[in-house]
């Protein structure tokens, strides 16, 4: 059981890592002017909900499997993802708005956020890996 949860989280975490990398690549493409803001934002907005779902999934998994420490580690990130999604003004086209992204350093802050998430997910990845191995050995 424990091993299964860990494997699932591991897969989930891999997906999140890929997403974070994808965000970084797309944003830096925008920064370097390889794609325009409209295309970039519609690409990214598509993945905001999947990211949120993945993050919540791993949080819930940790909760049900009573990994309290990892659960607490996951909770703020999941909360942030939900907050970010909910707080989008009605008139905006999503978390990433093409008309806003070049204003007030939003691009930079999105980039920073994606970087931090990548680091965090990598950390999680190793934690899950470790727990999985531990669980497998215990079995």
């Amino acid at each position: 059981m424990d091993a299964a949860v860990c494997i699932l989280s591991l897969i989930d975490c891999c997906a999140l890592i890929f997403l974070a990398v994808y965000f970084i690549i797309t944003l830096s493409d925008l920064e370097c002017d390889y794609i325009n803001a409209r295309a970039c934002c519609s690409k990214l907005n598509k993945w905001v909900i999947p990211e949120m779902v993945c993050q919540c999934l791993s949080t819930v998994l940790m909760l049900v499997s009573t990994h309290w420490f990892i659960f607490l580690l996951n909770l703020p990130v999941a909360a942030w993802d939900i907050y970010r999604y909910v707080m989008v003004p009605v008139g905006n086209m999503g978390v990433f708005d093409p008309t806003e992204i070049h204003n007030r350093g939003q691009l930079k802050s999105h980039m920073k956020e994606a970087m931090i998430k990548l680091g965090y997910h990598l950390l999680c990845f190793f934690i899950y890996l470790y727990s999985m191995i531990l669980a497998l050995i215990n079995d």
Binding site: C32, I35, A37, A39, G91, P98, T99, H102
Partner: protein
Amino acid sequence: MSAPVNGYGQTPAPNGGASAPRQTGPVQTYTTTYPAVGYYGAPPQQRNNPTIPSHCMGMSSKAPVTNSGHHVNNYYQNHYHVAPTSSAPPPQRHAAAVPSSAPPPSAHYAQFQQQHPPYATPRAYYGQMAYHASPAQSQQQQPTLLPAPPSGPGAPLYPIISYPSAPGTSQYGTLVSNQTATTPRTIQYSNLQPGSTTTAAMHPGYNVAPSTQMASAVNGQGSTTHQHYDHQASYGGTANGERPPSGTPTTSVHSSPSHHQAGTQFGYVANSGTISASGPTAAPSSSSSEDDEDDDEEEEDEEAGGDTSSSTTGSASPAPNSYDSLEEDSMPPSANMTNQASPYGSYGYPTMQPAYGGGPTPLTDTQASRDLLGPSGYQQYPQPFPSLSQLSAALGGLSGVPELEVEALRPVNLLQERNLLPSKPLQAPEPNLSSELKKVNCSPQTFRCTLTSIPQTQALLNKARLPLGLLLHPFRDLEQLPVITSNTIVRCRYCRTYINPFVTFLDQRRWKCNLCYRVNDVPDEFMYNPVTRSYGEPHKRPEVQNATVEFIASSDYMLRPPQPAVYLFMLDVSHNAVESGYLKYFCESLMENLDKLPGDSRTKVGFLTFDSKVHFYNLQEGLSQPQMLVVTDIDDVFIPSHDSLMVSWKESKELIKDLLTSLPAMFTQSRETHSALGPALQAAFKLMSPTGGRVSVFQTQLPTLGAGLLQSREDPSQRASAKAVQHLGPATDFYKKFALDCSGQQIGVDLFLLSSQYADLASLACVSKYSAGSIFYYPSFHHIHNPAQLEKFQKDLERYLSRKMGFEAVMRIRCTKGLSIHTFHGNFFVRSTDLLSLANVNPDSAFAVQMSIDDSLVDSSLACFQAALLYTSSKGKRRIRVHTLCLPVVNQLSDVYAGADVQAITCLLANMAIDRSVSSSLSDARDALMNAAVDFVSAYKSNVSNLQHSGLVVPAAMRLLPLYILSLLKQRAFRTGMSTRLDERVFAMCEFKTQPLQQLMRMVHPDLYRLDNVSDQGTLHLNDRLVPQPPLLHLSAERLSRDGAFLMDCGSVFYLWVGKCCNEMFIRDVLEYPNYASIPTNMSCIPELKTLLSERVRAFLDWLQDNRAFSCILHVIKDDTSANATFFQHLVEDRPESGSSYCEFLQYIQQQVS
């Protein structure tokens, strides 16, 4: 490549081109192919080849081999400088363009091409620049230059022998048509032939005007025309094989020193009215010769001038208007100019020489300005002053600088000094630059920076507590604009900056970019100066002599053929609209101005009306009367007919007029109260997307049906509440998405909202905001009950319909390395970090950007900013308007304060506050504004002011900041406590984002004058008008008096307040009423009387009016009427019902500071 994939494939080439790495490819290709001349040199090289009689042959034999691979790539990569010259590329390019764009009806495109020969003609002009008439002898000749009589020895040479000879042209024609046999473009090339023969035929006419014609050519469009002659001439010339392949001209006949002289001279002063003896002869001869020109060129002239006609054919006959003469008063007389210029030639480009070839720095230069010149090593050369007069002129130009700075820094105690306003409207501060740089710098009306001395580091900027940003008005109507037709537009190879007056010429062959500091080659063609007709003086080219220039762009700057001007009018015809009665006035106005709509023969017009259904109008030529087609399916709106809804303006004029006459009556019986704006917009999008153009939406109520329907969000009881104002942002993203789609298809949407009720402008405005449109709002519009709004509507429409237009535009703003733009304000879509996509650009909208300093600017003494606007004119020409601003970099906080531009800062703060109020809340924004004032005062107190004043001390340059901020807080956009309708508030916010600075300042802080005792003191002389200049008054009721009459200029409206005991003479002589009691309450014009006072007042009003684009309405307000309140609410220094007076505000600031 990404561009076509992501849906912007149709957009015109962004003028910035691709990023640096991509550029290197083609560059290398060229250098290897043509090692001698380098990249830019390619075209001349090809043509020079004497073994190949026609450059077309040269092209077909050579260029494809090396270039074809790149060619297509380049096209997609937005490369502009694809250099294969001659006529082959355009067809290729065009062929490539068609599949990449959204499939347009092929018939349409064919029409396009027939009527408009976009590539052939320009190319033809460029032939080979008349090198053979421009030898490199100028250096020897220059020192001896003297103002020569018009009939200089070179005059006979001017008409170049080799005007397109019959074989030359026919050869050209056939060759091209061979190459493009598969495309329908054959016709267009053959057009060229008649064109060029006409030129040849009228050439004698040109001959009549020898050197003076030349002179007139400099500042205006004339230069273009002039170049055309050269280019035309070249065909024969190259065919004759006069030039050796090396690319260096050998012919020694120079086109007379007199040309040169006259050229430079007029280059500066053509319009200033100080034309020397040759002036009068110039005027007639130039006009006569230009009259003869063929249609093509005339059209171009006309267009270059556009509204700014003085720069066109008659640039030799000065028509200075107010701004002009004001500016040029300070200019030294023409003789000085030429004298200054001449010493230059004698130095064979020492080591580094600034490009602004205006002349040597005067010996009296202050240390400050010497520093500014930085590494130029300028002072080392003995600079002989040719004459005493020049020395004095130079002294005069400089003497003001240190004094100004001292004055700007004089500490002012705001609590003590009560008279802060200057007597005349505040002018932009002059940057502390050397007089040469100042002279060529961009006009502050076009380009303004909040800090005219740029701080060296971000730390210093943070210390100053002032925002750093630019305010731009790039497409402003200009009185004079040098238009340059050039084969190669010289740009930095790395950062793509256009060459400008602030670059440095290292030697004759290399220049250093002033934005990225990298060294570029001077292309061969640039060595020749078409103005002076001399060779080897790249620093005297018009590009390097003017901070504002316009280039005629070649096909490298197009992603598709330039679009025609297309206008679609979308009219709300629901019951509400009919009730307001706007339709009749709109139709009348359009009928009157139909001929003034900017455009050419390709111009198309269409109409669409909507209530709960969408009505289209078939106006196809040949119909006896317009046909209405109704689409009821608003959930999936479709276009009933594809080619007859948008019709040629010329061909269907009768039908259009028919429609306009019958339209107002058609819907009078309508009982339909719903409005399906969203579906109608979608229909408009479908109609316009093949071409792009302008959609004008007239809406009178909240959209209630179909996509984009909105609900009323305003709670009238909360209008006056001091609590948070909500719903400043859009309610749906429909309009934003729609606007972005439009922007992608080059459609600009202008919104006219004529609503008596809440119509959710916050949501609707998005449709114009992101498609670069403009927004007009007429609250409580009714044709009978509200005559003031009706008058405004009519006046606005007149200007709106006839103003100049630019289509499919993009603007890029470049800054010196180390500075970066982080926020944009205005109506456009920011497509990438520094590229603004403007589907339409109009001369009345302005933009603002905020900047930060990423890297320290220690190494540079000057910071430069360049805004380049690439657009398609209404005549279907691709043009690039380039503005360059140069500012000094300083490392002292006091210098930063000395150069602060309080008006620009106020406008930028207002823009930032609007962003804040939408993203956060209105009270946050108000706090931020107040904190801006507090922060500034405390920063000044702690860092600069060493005197221990007890009061509120600010530098004189910034003494108006607290007042302006208080005025901002009392504007509709930001005020609380007073009843303000949400739509009006949102509209005020939109205005802040788009109005040019002067207009905005008049709205924020109106100008108040006393009119009943206007005297001759300080009268301004303009042409033959005398404009009195009454002093500015503070906006406080204590400055008013019962026995006077006062004029308040609020930007879009004038209030004439007449006091109860106003002297009878004024009432009689100006208003034409016997006494105060008989003045009607709704008076809105000043009668034309012959009395002295009336003439003075009207001259003053006219002068005020001339300074703005939209005409103002005048309200005469009597002291005791209810209208009094509208006047008194603008008196910002007084205490309103809720809020603070100026004194209280100052005390608040003082409290916060201490």
